[in-house]
Symmetry: C2
């Protein structure tokens, strides 16, 4: 047997014994409408052996799994990862490390794993932490990242509300930002997007009113779901219960 | 003939004579990889009678059309709209008005029209102008907006570079912004994305170096195309020719 063929044969047998590790796919699923998945994410979803989904609590259904459902096929393992939303850093790290080990075990068996996240993969997602943990556990791991449509792009389409044009500027901030900082952003930017706006919704509406910017803002809640709210009357929603998935699109003073 | 049936018959004949207008679809195509189209955009592309694509010049191929090509079917009209990139406001308005009339003529004939734009539909796209012109020409026009993956989300996935996490803030600005304004943003934001960074690339690299932020920045050029560049060595590209579709992802001082 010529040497090259012998070598190839040995390597191939060796690979089988060692289990060539699987590939990790990070998939951004878009805002919630299964049709807003990319063609690439839908193709990968139908092909991987393991579909890993984050869950906020043991009894809470995984929203990501619901969005991905139309593209799954029988026989795939659904690996639910309990990743509680906590501000405790140690608790978070522990949850991530545990989830990474669960995924690593499958990858080491040669199984391909897709990790699902709503919206885009690297825009306020938990994927980056997980990926870091996994790359520490398995240096050289093959990874493919698939971006997704962000909640704020989807909200802009739902409200027919341009986020930015020409020379304009766009700021995207979480609802945890200080009111004073938000006030400055509204002075300097053409558009400000406030994500997770439900928790302090009244503060944002008051700030916008104080600045005379309330007329040019939109509330978008549960974008892409059947119970989507898309309202230019922000006041109307101040005393009502609001989904965690709520954001405000606001024109800054520069745009007025 | 009972009155209700007679009425329905008259209305239906009336609609045929009047040509029920077609529907306008705005489609964000994502950054350039045909697989990064949404399932929804791909479905609509295969169904509409007219596919309208913006062109920067008469001899320039339409990039949007190349990205959409795998989803088109024989017999669809490809309507190329000449929309020169000019800073002359009147010239731009005239080009938009003319394009809107071309599209309106098809809609009035009862044909569905999809207008294509790279990236997301409402993020630095030309769609908002066109839609406004069309809604003036045809009040009550049925419109469906389909968001897309933005260039910066795709760039973040290509570079495995988180745009924002947790309480962080994100600014997205065009390359036309003043250097002093950019310097302030780098002080205040966790992440700053500079779109269309090619024109003044040297200035951005110098600014980042002056602020000690050069090590944590990435240049991404022609993201999703076969000749994609994704480089953490920004200096290397200062004296080289660069595509119009180039952006810089930069960590601000707050993140360091």
């Amino acid at each position: 047997m010529p040497f090259a063929i012998l070598l190839a044969f040995t390597l191939s047998v060796g690979r089988k014994v060692m289990h060539v590790p699987g590939k990790l796919y990070g998939l951004g699923l878009g805002p919630g409408d299964p049709e807003l998945l990319t063609v690439k994410a839908s193709r990968i979803l139908g092909r991987v052996s393991v579909v890993a989904v984050p869950k906020g609590g043991p009894d809470r259904p995984s929203l990501a799994l619901e969005v991905a459902a139309p593209y799954l096929r029988p026989g795939q393992e659904i690996l639910e990862l309990l990743l509680p939303m906590t501000r405790d850093r140690d608790q978070r790290q522990e949850a991530w490390a545990g989830s990474a080990r669960e995924i690593a075990r499958r990858l080491e068996q040669g199984l391909d794993v897709a990790f699902l996240t709503l919206g885009d993969l690297f825009t306020y997602s938990t994927y980056a932490y997980l990926r870091e943990h996994l790359q520490q556990l398995m240096p050289g791991l093959a990874v493919e990242n698939v971006p997704g449509v962000t909640s704020f792009a989807a909200a802009a389409s739902a409200a027919a509300w341009p986020l930015a044009e020409g020379d304009e500027t766009l700021a995207v901030v979480p609802g945890s930002i200080a009111v004073s900082a938000m006030a400055s952003l509204l002075d300097c930017f053409s558009t400000v997007v406030i994500l997770k706006a439900a928790g302090r919704y009244r503060e944002w509406v008051e700030l916008l009113r104080r600045k005379g910017l309330e007329q040019e803002a939109v509330l978008v809640s549960r974008c892409g779901f059947p119970d989507e709210i898309c309202s230019r009357d922000l006041d109307e929603w101040v005393d009502r219960e609001m989904s965690y998935f709520s954001l405000i699109l606001a024109r800054g003073a520069k745009r007025q």
